[in-house]
């Protein structure tokens, strides 16, 4: 191959350039060869479907017969569909129940663990243990824990004389119960990320502030919180994106019920797509979810960038 060009002869200038070019061509070829499998997968299973879903959203198709082009009808329909708005609100409600509780709890835990202490490492492991659990299995376990008659929660409430509600069949309680699964699962994970952020804050800052006579609470707001902002940003963005995609626990525990109280966007899309087989309409809904996530991410990004710049200027 090109490698075999003999070196013992003096090479004229243009030959050297040619060789460099050949080496460059080879590097590029190698790079693309290394990339090839992932690129193929990326284009075929990620990029093509994204364009596909945009195209599908303009059709009416039950996946069996012939698709018929309907233009923007699906979007017109979903804008006027009260169930879509209910699903959007349910999703937002879920995020609101979920993210603040999870972040505050995780921050408190991280602050508590951010010191040298006996068993600290073991505690960290224990707190992360829920993170890897299978949401479907958790859905089953939570349905049992919150069973009105045979569940732990109502048994404990009964001991202190409280008549617990029918958690999962009561529209007021179903969503909080589902959110609690997620809080339980991700608080430890969030705590670890925040803890890493806390540990990156130089100790000298606190010492200096202590000499200035500040209280621990003051230090938290003037030092910890501003310097933790990047970690908090990361946690909020990824957890919010994750929460917008809640599906498994709803699928297992309530199927969107009772009375649509837990019919979140992801479940609604699934139902339209694979229970009612309105794949065009489901695709249009998927585009809406996508747009919603982009919007929220952008908003969080702008907010944090502004605040961060403000604090460091």
């Amino acid at each position: 191959m090109i490698d075999n060009i003999p070196y013992d002869r003096p090479v004229p200038g243009h030959r050297r350039a040619e060789r460099r070019l050949a080496a460059r061509v080879r590097t590029v070829a190698e790079a693309y060869a290394l990339l090839a499998p992932s690129l193929a997968g990326f284009l075929l299973f990620l990029v093509a479907p994204i364009f596909g879903v945009a195209a599908l959203s303009l059709f009416d198709w039950n996946l069996m017969g012939a698709p018929s082009f309907v233009g923007l009808d699906n979007y017109r329909e979903l804008a006027a569909d009260p169930e879509v708005w209910r699903a959007v609100l349910n999703t937002i409600y879920y995020v609101v129940l979920n993210i603040p509780a999870q972040t505050v709890l995780a921050l408190l835990l991280a602050l508590a663990l951010n010191r040298r202490m006996r068993g600290g490492k073991a505690l960290r492991v224990v707190f992360v243990l829920p993170w890897m659990a299978m949401p479907v299995a958790l859905g089953i376990i939570w349905s049992w824990v919150f069973d009105p008659r045979y569940g732990v929660v109502n048994q404990v409430l009964g001991m202190v004389g409280i008549d617990g509600p029918n958690w999962l069949t009561d529209p007021a309680w179903a969503m909080p119960v589902i959110a609690s699964v997620n809080v339980w699962q991700y608080t430890g994970y969030t705590m670890l990320i925040l803890l890493a952020g806390l540990q990156a804050i130089p100790h000298t800052l606190y010492e200096a502030a202590a000499i200035d006579g500040t209280t621990p609470v003051q230090r938290f707001f003037t030092i910890t919180l501003p310097l933790l902002r990047p970690s908090l940003f990361f946690v909020l963005v990824t957890n919010t994106i994750g929460s917008f995609q809640i599906f498994d626990t709803v699928f297992v525990m309530t199927q969107g019920g009772p009375g649509g109280a837990t019919d979140v966007l992801n479940f609604h899309i699934y139902q339209q797509g694979f229970q009612l087989f309105r794949s065009g309409y489901a695709s249009a809904l998927a585009m809406v979810l996508f747009a919603l996530i982009l919007l929220v991410t952008a908003a969080q990004f702008l907010y944090f960038r502004k605040r961060t710049v403000y604090d460091f200027s």
Binding site: G65, T169, G257, G259, Q275
Partner: protein, 445 residues
């Protein structure tokens, strides 16, 4: 060392993908045997069916049958996904709600030529069952069974209330005061202090046992029956439009809501609403309700929950328009895209044969699709001390079937959510009726 890791990773990847391909392929024929997939949704019927299929396999050594069981909720989304994905089971249970859509999309095998070729005698099936599955001379399934709805009761609960099974005969209901039906259910409903709903001091929050339990994903086992007894038709004509918003229908929905929220004689929706609610045999078995409206296919489940004469079946009450029950039947259908049409037809012939349906009837699973075998089923239950002839009388009386429409699946999916809200008291019967009528009709093209 690291190369070993990398190499072993590659090796594992290759191996697993090979295993993956292999795994995918062994569904197909190997060594001359064909494996057929047979899909159904009722766990209670599975054991006797499985047993009979083992007989079929003995008679056809070249055919293996694999039963795929999914509950009612999962079944339809799975089956339709499989049909859309061109990988449906070879033979499956079909339902009137989905049949119109399936026949239109051409996913069912037309059995007419096969019936003619093998000279299958279709006159043995109840004509009421067989006729519904013919479109333009094409036959899309042969009858598997039929069912009606009855009032299952716990003999112990009846005795404790000082009632006899005869007291459940001839009950009537009306939209105004509930009639003798509600009166009887009041006697069967007791709170923790032993008070009944018609007594002063009754605490509806602390009920020990309710008179009635209801649960129905579509309405088949609850309000459709009251609707029929109240003169309501769900549809203006076969293949027509939904008419659930008619006053006679709304009154029936209202009555079911009243049984729960006004009279406090029926188990609250928070307990029974699908998909989380326990099945009604469990509710009655645990003593949470004295009676339950349920289908004849549930007999075996009730027998397990309340064995040795622990339960009986009475007729449904009569309404302003008289007696009546929902009547339904399933068929066995062959997937049009099956890779083994010959073997699938053999299996279907077995499933609709006298021998198979007799075995299933003897086990007390379902009323058979073959008319002459009805007595086998009745006798099987008589031997256990349960009189099930009421179901048959109901089938011979006024009945109503599932509406025939291409949009039935939309109704089925939406109804679950909408009526759950009504039973919880969050949506008025009038609004619910309007909503479901509009949405189901919007899906009719």
């Amino acid at each position: 060392m690291s190369r070993k890791i990398a190499l072993s990773a590659v090796a594992v990847a290759t191996l697993l993908s090979l295993a993956a391909c292999g795994g995918a392929d062994d569904e197909d024929s190997s060594g001359g045997t064909v494996t057929l997939r047979y899909a159904l949704w009722d766990e209670v019927q599975k054991p006797p069916i499985e047993q009979s299929i083992r007989e079929f396999e003995k008679a056809h050594p070249a055919i293996k049958v694999q039963i795929e069981l999914n509950n009612w909720n999962d079944y339809w989304s799975k089956l339709q996904t499989q049909l859309a994905g061109r990988s449906a089971p070879d033979v499956f249970w079909d339902h009137v709600s989905y049949f119109p859509k399936f026949s239109k999309e051409g996913v069912l095998t037309d059995l007419a030529p096969l019936i003619a070729q093998d000279k299958v005698d279709t006159s043995i099936y109840d004509s009421k069952l067989a006729e519904g599955w013919k479109v333009d001379g094409k036959v899309y399934g042969l009858p598997k069974d039929w069912d009606t709805i009855g009032l299952f009761y716990s003999t112990k609960a009846l005795k404790d209330a000082g009632l006899t099974p005869a007291d459940l005969d001839g009950l009537t209901w009306n939209p105004d005061d509930g009639g003798t039906f509600v009166k009887t259910l009041q006697k069967l409903t007791v709170d923790e202090n032993g008070k009944h709903p018609d007594e002063a001091g009754f605490d509806p929050k602390k009920v020990k046992q309710y008179g009635l339990a209801m649960q129905a994903p579509t309405g088949q086992q609850d309000w459709w029956n009251f609707a029929l007894q109240n003169g309501c038709a769900l549809q203006d004509k076969p293949w027509g439009r939904w008419t659930v918003d008619q006053p006679a229908c709304v009154q029936a929905i209202q009555f079911v809501q009243d049984l729960r929220l006004k009279y406090h004689v029926a188990v609250p929706a928070t307990v029974t609403n699908p998909p989380n609610g326990p099945s009604l045999d469990q509710v009655v078995g645990r003593g949470e309700a004295a009676t339950a409206m349920d289908g004849s296919w549930m007999l075996r489940a009730f027998d397990t929950a309340l064995p040795n004469g622990g339960f009986g079946v009475a007729d449904l009450p009569a309404g302003p328009a008289g007696k009546g029950s929902v009547y339904n039947g399933l068929t066995e259908a062959v997937y049009a895209g099956t890779k083994h049409p010959k073997e699938a037809w053999e299996l279907l012939k077995w499933l609709t044969s006298e021998r198979h349906q007799k075995a299933v009837a003897q086990a007390g699973a379902v009323w058979p699709g073959i008319t002459s075998l009805n007595d086998v089923f009745a006798d099987a239950w008589k031997a256990k001390g349960v009189d099930v002839t009421g179901f048959k009388k109901a089938a011979e009386g006024t009945t109503m079937g599932y509406p025939l429409t291409e949009a039935a699946d939309v109704y089925n999916v939406k109804a679950l959510d909408i009526f759950n809200q009504v039973w919880l008291g969050q949506l008025s019967p009038q609004d619910a009726a309007q909503k479901i009528t509009t949405e189901a009709n919007a899906a009719i093209k």
